[in-house]
């Protein structure tokens, strides 16, 4: 795939929602080790609501779709991940406002805006053991693929792979942000749930846009 339109974006969101539902217990289990055992429940509630919203009010364009997801996440997820992912989708929507189709470069720009939104709100940096640790390497890989002329499908696959590595790399880290930070040294040895859900979102895109 060299560019994605509304259909593909919706396919991604459906795939993401399905994976989150499937991995709900796993995400919650990760959160129970170093958090409060709700990340999977939160994300699933939010993405279910997002799909319902998209069905009830079919979006006119990609920006509208992303904005609708943002509103659902902000209104339904709660916790730390709700406003963070909500902000991410909102910023992505703004970044591609008016576009009918997204080239790989557009996807990268939107992704950058989304990550910046999360960082502005949550003040986390790489290495703090948060979703940022999956998202930043994913962006770097995406950007590199774009620079070397890759299409959307190829670029997002590279991003998903990088996200997986970033996610795994959270295991030894000591958390400095979010609920896991209360554990101090005891947070080391566990994979961050938010980094895991971030990887899920990217893997869903790679699946949806893969061919």
């Amino acid at each position: 795939m060299n560019s994605v339109g509304l259909e593909e974006v919706l396919a991604w969101l459906r795939e993401a929602a399905a994976r989150i539902e499937e991995q709900k217990e796993y995400l919650t289990q990760l959160d129970s080790a170093i958090g409060d055992a709700d990340h999977g429940i939160n994300m699933n509630r939010g993405f279910k609501a997002a799909l319902e919203r998209l069905e009830a009010n079919p979006p006119e364009d990609i920006a509208a779709a992303l904005k609708s997801v943002a509103m659902a996440l902000i209104g339904k997820v709660g916790g730390a991940s709700g406003p963070l992912y909500g902000t991410m989708f909102m910023e992505m929507a703004k970044a591609i406002d008016g576009k009918e189709r997204l080239e790989a470069a557009d996807v990268a720009a939107a992704f950058r805006a989304g990550i910046d939104g999360i960082k502005a709100r949550g003040k986390a940096e790489e290495g703090d053991k948060t979703m940022i640790d999956a998202l930043e390497p994913a962006y770097a890989a995406l950007q590199e693929a774009v620079a070397s002329g890759a299409g959307v499908g190829e670029a997002i696959a590279a991003a998903a792979d990088a996200a997986a590595r970033g996610m795994e790399a959270t295991i030894p880290l000591v958390a400095r942000k979010g609920r896991a930070s209360y554990l101090g040294e005891r947070s080391a040895g566990h994979q961050d749930p938010g980094a895991t859900s971030s990887h899920l979102l990217l893997a869903a895109a790679a699946e949806a846009w893969g061919s």
Partner: protein
């Protein structure tokens, strides 16, 4: 998991319906979005106080809505921060034009969601001040981390600010008082058992038959340290010792001592802990002049206790003593 509930997804809604049915003269409940507010809101000319957070900590916050305390509370799902739409609607429902104080416990989720809500409320022309409570000495404080959690001091801040608002004091003063309470209060908690989030269906953590967790939060988060069960007096020494070590409260101070049940610890044990706390503080030159003993900021059915000490002066004492009439805290009215 054994709980007196119907459907795990309906826990908060069923509870809110129960609150509405139980206290129709005192509070009103909005079910979409969820918030609880004073039946007589907005109170003309009065600063309104709004708080909120995940459910599962009852009576906090919904039980503290009423004369002399909160104007509204926003309950999230169990242990999950509520969302900005709830906070915005609650803020609008109780705003009389004199400004609204958001009392926010320092959890990333609560802080971020309240931040978004405050922005939205300001966009609609409502003056909002937010104060973040972070009194839990179990957590190392640092500029580079999420900082300390907000726990027991929240209850005290809501009571004291509620009294100040009732006196007609302006928003800036009520917010300053909230910061003053937060600056002068420190807490630490421990657990003998875990709790079970209804939607999760199993205990958040496992503790051995002879183990306890020190420095626990109010969401079943693991604590600072796991150790063998100790006597009440030793537990008090650990908790109150850590509070005094933090340096804000010390010899010569008068304090409000708040001995709180995490939910499953019965009153008979709280009074034993209070006895031991009184002795401990006496030995350290700290005088208890007010106290609060019971389950006020809980973690579902978790067994355990938290101790909060608030350094009192005449102003805080007077505001603490002022009448309050809510389902969860009531005196003088």
């Amino acid at each position: 998991m054994k709980k007196l509930i119907n459907n795990v997804d309906d826990v908060v809604r069923d509870e809110l319906e129960g609150i509405q049915l139980a206290h129709p003269h005192d509070v009103k409940v909005s079910l979409d979005p969820y918030y609880i507010y004073r039946a007589d809101a907005p109170v003309q000319g009065k600063v309104a106080i709004v708080s909120g957070g995940g459910s599962g900590h009852e009576p906090m916050h919904g039980g503290f809505v009423g004369m002399g305390m909160l104007d509204a509370a926003c309950p999230g799902e169990v242990f999950t921060s509520p969302t900005p739409d709830q906070m915005l609607e609650a803020t609008k429902a109780v705003s009389s034009g004199a400004g609204v104080l958001h009392i926010v416990k320092n959890y990333t989720g609560d802080v971020l969601n309240f931040e978004m809500a405050a922005d939205m409320a300001r966009d609609e022309g409502i003056e909002v001040e937010s104060v973040v409570i972070d009194d839990d000495v179990a957590v190392q404080d640092s500029l580079y981390t999420a900082g300390r959690r907000g726990v027991g001091a929240t209850v005290l801040a809501e009571k004291i600010c509620g009294a100040a608002a009732e006196e007609g004091r302006p928003l800036s003063e009520v917010a300053d008082l909230c910061r003053k309470v937060n600056d002068n209060a420190r807490s630490m908690g421990m657990a003998l058992t875990s709790c079970t989030v209804p939607a999760a269906g199993k205990p958040t953590f496992e503790l051995g038959e002879d183990e306890m967790e020190i420095g626990i939060g109010i969401h079943g988060e693991p604590g600072r340290e796991r150790m063998k069960v100790k006597s009440a007096a030793e537990v008090v020494e650990i908790l109150a010792g850590a509070i005094l070590d933090d340096g804000v409260i010390g010899s010569g101070d008068n304090v409000l001592a708040f001995v709180n049940s995490m939910g499953g610890t019965p009153l008979i044990e709280l009074y034993i802990v209070y006895r031991d706390l009184h002795r401990f503080l006496e030995g350290r030159g700290v005088t208890i002049t007010r106290n609060l003993i019971g389950p006020y900021i809980t973690s579902l059915e978790m067994q355990g206790v938290s101790i909060t000490l608030l350094k009192l002066d005449d102003e805080l004492t007077r505001l603490w003593d002022a009448p309050v009439k809510t389902p969860g805290m009531r005196w003088g009215a």
